[in-house]
Amino acid sequence: MELKSKHLLGIESLEPSEIRLILQTADSFLEISTREIKKVPTLRGKTIINLFYEASTRTRSSFELAGRRLSADILNFSKQTSAVVKGETLRDTILTLEAMRPDAIIIRHGSSGSAYYLTTFCRSHVINAGDGLHEHPTQALLDAYTIKQEKKSFKDLKVVLCGDILHSRVARSNIHCLKKLGADLTLCGPPTLLPPAFGAFDVKIQHDFDKALEGADVIMMLRIQLERMQKSFFPSIREYSRLYGLTAERVARAAKGAVVMHPGPINRGLEIAPDVADSAQSLILRQVENGVAIRMAVLYLLLGGKDSENVG
């Protein structure tokens, strides 16, 4: 089995079977990162461009390691090092980079739809590493992979996703991913950051965090951004933290054996209490570890096969 598209733009367009293929493939890659020589020759001679218009440490380095461990050559470009600062458009930047004949372009960009936009004129494989508020597919995949390691099955698994849903691409990708895998998903957050229209994603909406947590098997927290406060999405850090911060007492309301996840970077003491972040139930560092395996799997599945369009 293979992925249908030559690009990975989002989870919404993936079939459940494709998600399972990626998770299963990641299983094989996880072991490589535990070796003394953390490298296989699979993508030798392939060139991958890591184009990050937004600051990102973990996603960029995770993709970079994934590519390197598969022996691909990686070029890193940031907004600062590209000609964007000289007024070059995204299209011209991409066309310039494509002239260097890369095989794949991994893009993180502040505009929703930017990864899709690239595919309208790009020859390379395009991998979305986060586009605006839209999707961050590899994050959702690594989250699903981490859940699968712990919980085995998604069927009827109660997952609570809490925080700034409105502005979160991680939330959108996770909503699609978890629904496709059959989980029972509840979204939680203040109504300003979780508009009722999100109910149309076929998920439960609950504004009371304590109620949402009852019986939860997985608690996924989202980073709260302080600039939202200036726009009056919530009145104060203190109040947000009191209503939607994950504390040990709150974790106790969840099901036995519940696990805690966070895409990072975390605001300690704000959306998540330090003792919860560091607890045995917390999978936060495991998510980071799994991220490399998931991205290796995605790179292998997209670049590893025969690419008819690039041949001849």
């Binding site: 089995m1 293979e2 493939t25 299983d27 094989s28 890659f29 072991e31 490589i32 070796r35 003394e36 020589i37 490298k39 296989v40 020759p41 699979t42 993508l43 598969l70 799997a297 292998y300 599945l301 670049l303 590893g304 096969g305 025969k306 690419d307």
Partner: protein
């Protein structure tokens, strides 16, 4: 694909006898059996490797560890194969450093799988020696490789396929030569 069976070249007994013979040869050549480690190449190399380990245990009462190797990531034809090979796990739960590693596969053909397997081994550690055991050597080598232990030399034409079937996954022990049906007349 409808493959036509041209000949059955080994049955249960023949396979058993040749595994016995090869085990004896292994024991003769490896005076320090305790330093031996078997790595079976997916899929059928695993089961042949496990049977060899079992025979060594019966003959010499030495437990030889068996690991599983998936060579997909080391293939030299990635990017050329029409349907993408599924990556599976490599599971070698012992250190291969300074070990005498016995690579095991069902059929030796072009030699490319063994090349990939050796590359993979060197990424996993530094073995003392590497030996190769195959149940069938069907010729047509494309690389300068030969097996140390061969169950049966089997001259074939290139369009033929050699199918090794093992009880563990195929419910029967046999080796068949098949040919694509549509190519025959």
């Amino acid at each position: 694909m409808d493959d036509k069976i041209k000949a059955k070249v080994m049955d249960n007994n023949k396979i058993r006898r040749s595994l016995h013979r090869m085990t004896t040869e292994i024991i003769e050549r490896n005076r320090n059996l305790k330093n031996l480690a078997i790595v079976g190449i997916r899929t059928r190399g695993i089961y042949i490797g496990k049977r060899i380990a079992q025979l060594i245990k019966e003959f010499e009462r030495v437990e030889v560890p068996v690991g599983v190797m998936d060579i997909t990531l080391y293939r030299d034809d990635i990017g050329e194969i029409e349907s993408q090979p599924e990556v599976q796990k490599t599971e070698i739960e012992f250190s291969i450093n300074k070990k005498d590693v016995l690579l095991v596969d069902d059929v030796l053909f072009t030699g490319r799988t063994i090349r990939a397997a050796m590359d993979s081994l060197f990424d996993l550690g530094r073995p003392q020696t590497i030996q190769l055991l195959v149940l069938i050597d069907r010729g047509h080598r494309e690389l300068p490789l030969r097996a140390d232990y061969v169950g049966k030399f089997l001259p074939t034409s290139r369009r033929e396929t050699v199918q090794v079937r093992l009880k563990e996954i195929d419910d029967t022990d046999e080796v068949l030569i098949t040919e694509p049906a549509d190519l025959k007349k």
